[in-house]
Subunit: 285 residues, 2 copies
């Protein structure tokens, strides 16, 4: 191993999300790769991306990527389904020397491995559902798959408010999921796998699981993405071998709110004083 590659392995991993949801991905990275230094950037000034156009989302992602590249990262995780769905390719073209990993491909891969009957459900934000990123990524791997996708925008608000379980939350989850459950029960096979296609949704995993019953496998894209990153770094001899990495946070607005909401998604500590307020819009994009 050359001196250059040793240095490269010590560089941090950049994790970009539109707000706080990507902290579920950060959480899994920290769990699976405890030696890595992690820099999280949440574009809290412009969250949510889920209702914004592909053009805007791609522009914001370029600004964020440039901000993290300036911090000398070795790999960029787009820890946001909306960003992953539209911006992976433009970013790889714009930054050809950077490893860019989205959450859609690992989630699609995991769902194709999990399904027995080829009937896969996807729940996500409106934009992720309508741009069909998961549908395409699943069909590339399994052209005979039956896919049902549904927007569950309300889950984002529930997750951020800390409404994660209990009877009322399950009733809300059941009402939100009723169209996809009904469509599934009307089909010959019935879906046996559901992709949580928004990084906020793992916070509601237990409630979703109770509503669907044990026969439906839930694919948590935070978990699958962290596993994919671990494999990629290992293959390229880029794993940081130190025992415990540092975690830094950058937000584009409201560090106090970020510190308050973060524990809904991230199990490590997030001190308000450790959160840096940054302006990323000057990058144009």
């Amino acid at each position: 191993m050359s001196a250059a590659s040793i240095d490269e392995s010590k560089k941090p991993i950049g994790v970009f999300d539109s707000g706080v949801g990507g902290l579920t991905v950060l959480n899994e990275l920290k769990k699976q790769l405890p030696g890595e230094d992690l820099i999280y950037l949440g574009d809290t000034a412009r969250v949510p991306y889920g209702t914004k156009s592909a053009l805007s989302v791609t522009r914001y992602a370029r600004q964020a990527a440039q901000t993290l590249v300036d911090r000398d990262i070795k790999l960029l995780v787009l820890a946001c389904n909306t960003v992953s769905a539209v911006a992976v390719e433009p970013l790889q073209v714009a930054l050809p020397n950077l490893l860019v990993v989205g959450v859609v491909e690992p989630g699609a891969e995991a769902s194709c491995k999990a399904t027995r009957n080829g009937h896969i459900g996807v729940i996500a934000t409106e934009s992720t559902v309508s741009n069909q990123a998961y549908q395409r990524a699943i069909l590339t791997r399994r052209p005979d798959a039956t896919i049902q996708a549904q927007a569950c925008s309300l889950f984002v608000a529930l997750a951020e408010e800390g409404w994660h379980d209990g009877d009322l939350v399950e009733q809300i989850v059941a009402k939100c999921l009723s169209p996809i459950i009904k469509a599934s029960s009307n089909s010959l096979t019935g879906m046996d796998t559901l992709v949580l296609g928004c990084t906020h949704f793992p916070a509601l995993k237990a409630s979703i699981s109770r509503v669907l019953g044990g026969d439906v496998a839930l694919v948590d894209s935070a978990e699958t993405t962290a596993r994919y990153v671990a494999g990629l770094l290992s293959d390229r001899a880029l794993l940081n071998e130190q025992s415990e990495g540092q975690v830094q946070f950058m937000v584009t607005d409201g560090p106090e709110r970020f510190a308050r909401v973060a524990p809904c998604f991230f199990s490590g500590s997030v001190e308000p004083s450790a959160i840096e307020l940054v302006d990323i819009q000057h990058f144009g994009g």
Copy 2:
């Protein structure tokens, strides 16, 4: 009346909101002032403002105000509580020749008229609650008032998803309101008036009313703001006397979603083709 003032009266009213919630104010303006031409600007690229800092919100409001001033408006309504709470004064300084009306002052005024025992509740977004705009506006008018304010961020998502009534919505509303109801029942007087301090909330008015019971008067700031604008234009001989005004829409992102969600808040028609996509960020601010 001079020729200049006749021309002035024919100019449109500008209505600015962070997204779709201000359509409840537009709706009331259309109802109470059918002759006025109205131009609505929703900053859908950066919605929601409720979780953003005062500095960012003021900057966005200046960009929006400049966009509407370029359309030659006679009066600007800040149809967003978050914006009204922080940006009325900065805008009046920046644009001294423009009439600027927020929703906070009319709502505070109406609540002071409605209350019998001086115990007023305020529900709003986090930023409106924490910057205490309503609390200050009420105490200026009624220094002996007892005020209880509470953030109900989840109501925004419910309103936009079209979850306005029904048993489940009432259960959610009851859970969200339980802290303020409990605090009220522990006080000597008990609140007799509740300000709906977010323009989204009138969509949930019936459910909120059923949860609180008939003894609590609800102050709908959309209604009170439209009444205030009508009085101001009448006082200044600026009312447009035509029989039916035009309504135009501008958004900074996602006109299709805007057209789809708008009927939750606005009873007039909103054709996708009548919605103009604008960039307001080039104004700096």
